[in-house]
Subunit: 271 residues, 2 copies
């Protein structure tokens, strides 16, 4: 499939790859043991050529009612890469109450973020906190200057609604995929979709696969694979029901009934 | 492999399976649209035979410096099951600062939890917040009466240290697996391990596979597969490096160097 993520990752493995992680893990142990606080990234890290470069500035734009796992997956991968600085922002800043009432943070205020290297918009069922013109304008603004514009799950609907995905191919959760058309984006059912500087993952758990793909783009295939080994990502689902085409008919039909319109990829998020 | 999770899940599919999820999603939409707050589980849910039964009381025992993705994966699956109540507890209660400085909550105080149907202990590199005799005593106490005693990643080391896993087979992150022996547990390299009422997942991302396995135990294979389809868990890692045996030698060796002792499954967590 020409539309799917290109497996031949460009760029040589990062020579200084493991250094920050090693320092983070090992230095972190020493620091944490002494302070009994959080692991302190870079507490005792070595300086390499890679380290001397400006770190990648990676922003997750999260919001009330969003889905935790959409960003928890790629976040985990990104924290294991050398020289990547991960930030979170939300419409109001501070702590954010996600789907199911769980609270996550801290976040910066989205309107205060000047520019980033990568913007990633995760998804949810209720996108209403982001689908306001004044918030979408900031998503569009950050997308215009970012080196990579990315999403997981229905985060692509937010990106598309901002106008950032006009004429671009994008992934989305299978149940909502065709909603992208109304904003001028091109739905692509692949799990990871790359269209130039636009990279997207499919529904929820696709965030982990997406995370490895963007890791390879940012820091090379070696660093991405080291992160994969660190999080033991050797998936072995006990069932085969992860896509409508694989799921047994009774499972597929129950979910179609649960999510009206999903049979045609036209389930409507809350806007 | 006789030691791995039995794929033939006992118990009939839950007849009332989709009802709560449907109500949660659909009722949630109505409620959330009206209040612009969090999705309210069960806001307008239908009452079925399944609903009338006491819900499964599922507790994640989390702690400072723990790894977000270890519990974000199974949490997501569990919230999509009918009639399962998910709770979080931590040593101090309230909000918890996890690895990488992210904050998650709210949590109850672990010492205040009287009993649960399922206890799940997720992992981390720094387990020191849990490895105190007074905290381990509460993990042991809850494990004695729980129907299922479960873990993800190095959470099994905490369970084992509490004395709950004596003579029981358990999974763990590959780098730490053999540390289980010092507490009298039997290391099992499988991704999902079931030994009677003890169910465990391997490193970090194994939490999703574990989540589907415990979902099937609690609510049947049909409900588990519906959850799998809802989170589109059709993994397609762009690389094959999720286990030392699969990873290219240069990747494996870099990670062995990063995590001293990991080559023998004897990396030491912070205790």
């Amino acid at each position: 499939m020409p539309d799917t993520f290109d497996m031949t990752i460009s760029g040589a493995p990062s020579a200084g790859g493991p250094s920050r992680r090693q320092a983070m893990l090992m230095g972190g142990i020493a620091v944490a043991a002494a302070t009994a606080g959080s692991l302190v990234p870079g507490g005792a890290r070595a300086t390499t050529i890679d380290e001397a470069k400006k770190p990648v500035d990676f922003l997750f734009a999260i919001y009330p009612n969003g889905t935790l796992l959409d960003f928890a997956g790629p976040h985990e991968i990104l924290t294991l890469l050398p020289n990547v600085k991960v930030r979170f922002a939300s419409p109001a800043g501070g702590l954010v109450t996600l789907e199911n009432g769980v609270v996550f943070g801290p976040t910066e205020k989205l309107t205060d973020v000047t520019d980033v290297d990568v913007i990633c918009v995760p998804g949810g069922l209720n996108l209403s906190a982001m689908m306001k013109p004044e918030i979408l304008a900031h998503i569009k603004r950050l997308s215009e200057t970012a080196k990579y514009v990315t999403s997981v799950c229905t985060g692509s609907i937010i990106l598309a609604a901002s106008g950032a995905l006009k004429g671009k191919r994008s992934a989305c959760h299978w149940a909502f995929l065709n909603d992208l058309k109304k904003y001028g984006a091109i739905p692509d059912p692949s799990r990871i979709v790359k269209d130039g500087r636009f990279i997207s993952g499919g529904g929820v758990t696709a965030g982990i696969d997406f995370g490895l793909a963007i890791a390879a783009e940012l820091r090379g295939a070696q660093a991405a694979q080291e992160a994969q080994l660190l999080v033991q990502y050797d998936p072995q689902p006990p069932f085969h029901a992860g896509n409508p085409s694989d799921a047994p008919p009774n499972v597929r039909n129950a979910v179609y009934k649960m999510l009206p319109g999903s049979e045609y990829g036209l389930m409507q998020p809350i806007l």
